[in-house]
């Protein structure tokens, strides 16, 4: 890749960073077995999406991106709250948060 692509950071650079963060978050959801770490990886994916929105808002001179970031942040915080409440309830009942104990539907 020619050196001139690295200076003059533009929209593509931010999108590439956001894609990388999204991929790492997705790997976290797929590969980690702790319920809370999976929720944290979902938060990471939502943050990557926020970065995309803000980058587009900046480089397209459009304020709608930042308004979307507001809503995504609110929904993410709300989902984290309920997810943690559920995790605490599960821990109170089973004393385990490793999902390999919860893999089978109780039949």
């Amino acid at each position: 890749m020619p050196m001139s692509n690295l200076v003059d950071v533009g929209l593509s650079h931010y999108l590439a960073l956001s894609a990388a963060l999204f991929a790492i978050g997705m790997l976290g959801v797929l590969m980690r077995r702790n319920v809370i770490v999976m929720m944290m990886s979902i938060e990471l994916m939502l943050n990557a999406v926020n970065l995309t929105f803000v980058a587009f808002s900046r480089f397209r001179d459009n304020m709608d991106g930042q308004a979307m970031v507001f809503f995504v942040m609110t929904v993410a915080a709300a989902e984290a709250a309920v997810g943690l409440a559920l995790a605490v309830t599960i821990f109170k009942r089973f004393r385990e948060v490793n999902i390999r104990y919860f893999e089978h539907l109780k039949g």
Binding site: I24, R32, I36, S57, R58, R60, A67, T74, A77, R93
Partner: protein, 178 residues
């Protein structure tokens, strides 16, 4: 060719956020993962500030890094888990397929970005505004065009608060049988 402060900021903060995101994925102790995620959020706030989105950066610090991640860390400290023995999913074949799948998806994203770089260049760059003016524009958008979604968020937060309190009142606990 000059490397401006904007470029340097992007590379430093972007590198920091990538490194701490990898820390979230790879650390076996979940509390370390949570602290790495907090560092990722702080570096993302720095990136937003470098893109002149001042209010979004502030809200990211206050809400995400200062409240949501503190909640995660507090819950993990209450659980008192030992360092995980089986932190990653078992099965070599399944693990390999997951890696390949995510790699293909990322490759597709990056190829799309690289190929469309010509149309993305030459876009209209927003003017550099200071914090108050950009916040005013954001507020006008939130209360004007998206006012319905804004009020719906309020209702959502109310429902979430009631739900969390209801979940925490379920009977039983780790010492309930004793």
């Amino acid at each position: 060719m000059t490397l401006t402060a904007q470029d340097l900021l992007f590379y430093i903060l972007g590198g920091l956020s990538l490194a701490s995101a990898l820390g979230v994925l790879l650390m076996t102790n979940p509390i370390y993962s949570a602290l790495c995620l907090a560092l990722t959020m702080v570096s993302l706030a720095g990136l937003y500030a470098s893109m002149q989105a001042w209010f979004v950066a502030g809200v990211q610090l206050i809400v995400y890094a200062g409240a949501v991640m503190v909640l995660f860390v507090m819950v993990l400290m209450l659980f008192d888990l030992k360092s995980e023995v089986k932190a990653f999913s078992r099965g070599a074949v399944a693990g390999f397929m997951k890696l390949v799948a995510v790699g293909l998806m990322t490759g597709a994203f990056l190829a799309a970005i690289y190929n469309s770089a010509d149309t993305l260049l030459g876009t209209s760059l927003a003017a550099n505004v200071d914090g108050t003016a950009s916040t005013k524009a954001l507020a006008q958008m939130l209360f004007g065009k998206y006012v319905f979604a804004f009020e719906a968020m309020g209702v959502l937060l109310l429902i979430i608060a009631i739900g969390a309190v209801a979940l925490s009142r379920i009977e039983g606990g780790t010492h309930a049988d004793e």
